[in-house]
Subunit: 272 residues, 2 copies
């Protein structure tokens, strides 16, 4: 490994390198490292002893099924074990802790990203396709957004989604550093602007009707109407909806187009 001075110089001039990251990785908390390795390393089965009755992936699938059907609060080690036909403690032969299991279901639960088609010139359409896919994925598994994302180990599917977004952005002619910025913008908007839909999806998964969810949200927002502290927001709430009502998906789409307008403006100013 290069000396400290060299490494620092490299960092200043060239940004994050493989060596830099691996150097950092050496200092990682052992438990986190273990959790991360579980996501990446092919597990080589020991030859001695009884054969495991199931695979780690069976455990993950059972856990995901429970979260999908009954929500994150129903996801207990006992419930996972019962689904498989084990006692709770047997799960610990597959994952060292519940957090490690969470890591696995986050990555597997995200699923494969939309297939990164080869660059075809229309980066806006490709990025929009990606954003819709991500939004749909988050709504299909609303429990994903309940887990603290970024600190958890990022698995192959996670990076796969980022790669799939990078592909169309690479055709814009932006510098790699700028592309990194655009990834933050698009992913940030997609996640943040999907929150309301995710909340609705969560209510649905709990077996509640759309109407009861709307009632709860409407009742709270409705407090603004007539309250002298929130005059302008009340005006927004009671505004006519300009023609046909917008679904949440259309709303998301409209906002995405504004965000992409902003990005396109930058691309034009920056590449030309």
């Amino acid at each position: 490994m290069a000396g400290k001075k060299k490494a620092a110089a490299r960092r200043r001039g060239r940004g994050l390198t493989h060596d830099d990251l691996m150097t950092a990785a050496a200092r990682i908390d052992p438990e986190l490292r273990r959790r991360s390795e579980l996501l990446w390393d092919d597990r080589t089965l020991p030859t001695r002893g009884p054969k495991p009755a199931v695979t780690p992936d069976d455990v993950v699938q059972a856990a995901i099924q429970i979260a999908d059907r009954q929500g994150l609060s129903a996801l207990t080690m006992q419930a996972v074990a019962a689904t498989i036909g084990f006692t709770a403690m047997a799960i610990y032969r597959y994952f060292p802790s519940k957090d490690a299991l969470y890591d696995a279901i986050v990555d597997v639960g995200m699923g494969r990203p939309p297939r990164p088609t080869e660059p075809r010139g229309d980066w806006r359409a490709e990025v929009a396709r990606w954003a819709h896919a991500k939004r749909a994925m988050l709504c299909a598994r609303p429990w994903l957004a309940e887990l603290p994302f970024v600190a958890a180990p990022h698995g192959p599917n996670w990076l796969g989604w980022l790669e799939a977004l990078t592909v169309p952005l690479s055709t814009t002619g932006l510098s790699p550093a700028d592309i990194g910025q655009m990834i933050s913008i698009i992913d940030g908007y997609t996640r943040g602007a999907s929150d309301t839909s995710i909340s609705l999806a969560r209510a649905r998964a709990r077996g509640e009707s759309d109407a009861s969810w709307a009632a709860a949200v409407g009742a709270d927002l409705g407090r603004a109407i007539g309250d002298p502290r929130f005059p302008r927001f009340a005006a927004v709430l009671t505004a006519p909806s300009d023609g046909q009502p917008r679904t949440m998906e259309e709303s998301f789409d409209f906002g995405l187009e504004r965000v992409l307008d902003g990005i396109e403006h930058y691309v034009r100013a920056s590449v030309a």
Copy 2:
């Protein structure tokens, strides 16, 4: 109350009205309604019986203090009670459930929004000020982002933040319905794009060093480098950083300007 036909016609033509929302509110789940009322109604103390030793706000402050100092997982009824000098069960005299306490600390924890200055023409600067304030708030209390936001009752501070954002947007000349869209975009971007910083803030609150957080994140992202499945994203990771390195705050700011560019473009096309 007006007949069903009239109400439906009104809804189609005029968007969400006070009556509509209040009608919906009548159908709300009783427990949620109770939780919501706790956030809004002035609590009138009974005259009979012993005086309560503390106020509900004392309980909320104790809970917030624990979450701030030790994170959400340390926030137990026993811990809150111990801070006050009670046993756990006494807390239930102030809040009917832990979820109701969560509602309260979410709203109080958000704090007052930045003061909505009277419209001064520069809506971009005002909106940016709002976004920075919201981001700073979320980073100062990273446990807020761990709670499922939207489904919980929205209290006065929550609406206050929305009002504060609506004020500068109202000076753009956009229709109220369009302003509602812009609110979604800006709030969505702000929340989503702050996630990484919030995660770092959470690590700090746990007493971890910035370096160890960076090591964990770097180790995971670093797996992309050299992996044939993520060639383009790896290129982004290893890219030179074009001059001085950007802090996360500068990154957020850069993205916000792109988003505001997109909104401004729409304003110009739509108002002119």
